[in-house]
Amino acid sequence: MQIQVHHTTGNPRSARVPSALRRRTVYLAAPLVAFDSSAYGRTEDALVRAGCFVIAARDEFRSTTDWLARLGDVLSKVQALVVVPGPGGVVGAGVLREILEAIVFGIPTYLADGNRFHPLHGVRFTVLDRPSRRCFARVEFPLRKRR
């Protein structure tokens, strides 16, 4: 049995939101399958508690067509991008597109892992067998240090 750490840990009260994210306007991205996950809700709560104004992808867009049309406009108004990976840490081409657009806009990007936020360059994307639009890569976070 595979244990999915990303979705079993994390509490908005104990989340360690980096100072660079606090009180910022943040776009919260995730694969479609993660929109209704508890991880997405917890990350949103943690950001709100840290004083962030959160634009949640699940509430902002009506459809994929709407997302394609307005993503650039939305990203031009935010100060940071936070990505919540889907089950098993999997992300699709859509999330990769959001990350690339954020890089073009010069927006810092973080990936949420339970109650931690990792900068984009601190994680690794392992491309899956038979990568597709919905399942492109698995996000691998650095191992946590034991106390």
Binding site: A93, L100, V104, F125, T126, V127
Partner: protein, 138 residues
């Protein structure tokens, strides 16, 4: 790789690539009977590339990214990967020595600094020896 229409694309900073290596790989693919749409031949400048790369990709079955020695990709190359996945194309990587391998099981690590030309680095998973486990805990 099946004999099909193949588009060759160079990812990463252009200055990194040797034109002779590029030409040699394109010619080798054509000798194998593949139809190659090479972006250096098709697009004269960045404006032409911006206007035409999506259509060129849509006409092909594979995207081949030619990696430089440091295996760094820019935003343009990563955007082509995203578009290829969206269009259901297969993505292959060509190394400077001419070896071609699929994108599967590679690691992509974004580089600090958020440069559009040096955005991410591709790393290959070491080949497993026979009898070795998958190492994924399963």
């Amino acid at each position: 790789m099946t004999a099909s229409r193949l588009r060759v694309y160079i990812g990463g900073p252009v200055a990194q690539y040797d034109a002779h290596v590029y030409k040699r790989i394109v010619e080798a693919l054509r000798l194998r009977g593949l139809e190659v749409v090479a972006d250096r031949e098709r697009f004269r400048d960045m404006n032409a590339w911006r206007a035409g790369w999506r259509k060129a990709l849509s006409e092909c079955t594979h995207l081949l990214l030619l990696l430089g020695p440091d295996r760094v990709l820019g935003c343009g190359a990563l955007a082509e990967i995203v578009e290829a996945l969206t269009q259901g194309k297969q993505v292959m990587l060509a190394q400077p020595n001419g070896a071609i391998r699929p994108l599967e099981r590679t690691w992509i690590r974004f580089l600090p600094g958020r440069s559009k030309r040096r955005t991410a680095q591709v790393n290959f998973e070491p080949r497993r020896r026979r009898g070795e486990g998958h190492g994924d805990g399963s």
